[in-house]
Symmetry: C2
Subunit: 261 residues, 2 copies
């Protein structure tokens, strides 16, 4: 792929955010259609394509979801105390009613019968596939300028009731989708100092869980921390980037720092 | 984002394949580093970043994985009979030893303690996050010209033993990674007539599982099937595409068909 195409993919990945603030502008059907087709082209175990998409615009059902969310949020809050609790309560965690639409991505295990190529040993593989569809959808939305927020504080049984989802179908992701005023430079939970981005080198192992070094392991561990690996793709464009607002500290350093810094 | 960047993202999505045939060329550390950083920038519940990456080059361990795979493949095969079984046995399902490297993506639930923002109701959310990391990795690899194959026919306990993975760490994805002779036009399981791509419109619901129509639902259902939604992004480039080999029937029609067909 050309450097431009590569950069397009990496731009979507590094500038994607979990969005909770939306503007009310409607999402054109054509844009939504592209985003859904992108999701449908995710990998799936045995090519089972286990996903479905429930497009939710109905306000009454969304109010019910919001009501359940508020209850669950209190339960979630009860895990935290002191400063951590104060921070939690200050965070806006969803845009269920503000977003012009919500979208539920579900998983139907054994869609074509119980015999699935690749599904002997790992029972959750179809749910994994559905997550890949959510990932594609999220990145395509970002490329289209659409924000997506994943609301995980809501019970599957309740979603099943509100949306008449059959018992054998798993609601994997409840998403809020819409245009945004801005994509934050950093993940919201990072700028709110809820958690920090882990250094990538801390996540690397070589040949076994205990193998933190190997002959060439040091090289890779250095490289994942290095802005140098992005120079070819990003550096020239960075200083004169047309969208300085979205060039943030969360993207690899080479994106936001001019060459030579 | 510019149309070029958007196209880059969609190219990666539509041309990504589950690869089982690799050429032995080494993957440069710099390329592997970019792909891993892309994975690390996936969304995660409560910004927990629950993933780790075990880079596997050791041949002896890979032989053990291959041995276990072969056992599990026999179990998987036993689900099928007749023509279906013949097809199954003819499929190459992994490139564990041929690929220059394997990569295990794991999930550590409760990495920063049991209190996780967003994790009251859905226990699997950290595994979902890990799948999003795998999705990013797969797309970044495709943009870099690297093939990735997800080997799901292998037991977690066995992986845990071979790679000394602690019990509380979940091996989510066992991946084979390397350069390829070609990215097939269609998913292998589609061209082998193992399964067909489902029509996207069959996967749409409106406002509830039973809602297959709504006022504007027909429009969206038509659009997800229509090459028209891709014209602005793909049509001009399609007839003179520089890589006709990779322009396949699996990508939206507008990519492979010149305008006016």
């Amino acid at each position: 792929m050309s450097a431009e195409y590569q950069r397009g993919l990496y731009e979507a990945i590094f500038r994607r955010r979990d969005i909770r603030k939306f503007i009310p502008d409607a999402v054109p059907d054509e844009v939504l259609a592209r985003v859904i087709v992108a999701a449908h082209h995710a990998a799936s175990v045995g090519f089972t394509q286990p996903w479905d998409f429930i497009v939710v615009r109905d306000t009454e059902r969304r109010r019910e979801v919001k009501r359940v969310f508020e209850q669950e949020r209190v339960i979630n809050a009860a895990q935290f105390t002191g400063d951590r609790l104060r921070k939690f309560l200050a965070l806006k965690l969803e845009g269920i009613l503000e977003a012009p639409l919500n979208l539920i991505v579900t998983c139907e295990p054994d869609r074509f019968g119980p015999a699935v190529l690749g599904k002997v040993s790992i029972r959750e593989v179809e749910v994994y596939s559905t997550c890949l569809a959510v990932g594609n959808l999220w990145l395509a939305a970002r490329a289209e300028g659409l924000g997506v927020g994943w609301v995980s504080i809501v019970r599957n049984e309740t979603l099943g009731e509100i949306f008449s989802i059959p018992n054998h179908i798993i609601p994997v992701a409840y998403l809020c989708i819409g245009y945004v005023e801005a994509f934050p430079d950093q993940p919201v939970l990072e700028s709110a100092e809820w958690a920090a981005r882990m250094p990538a080198r801390a996540l690397l192992h070589f040949d076994s869980w205990k193998g933190s070094t190997e002959s060439d392991g040091h090289t890779l561990a250095d490289l994942v921390q290095s802005p140098e690996i992005w120079r070819g793709l990003f550096a020239d464009a960075a200083p004169s980037d047309a969208e300085p607002r979205t060039v943030g500290t969360d993207v690899p350093n080479a994106i936001s720092k001019p060459r030579g810094e």
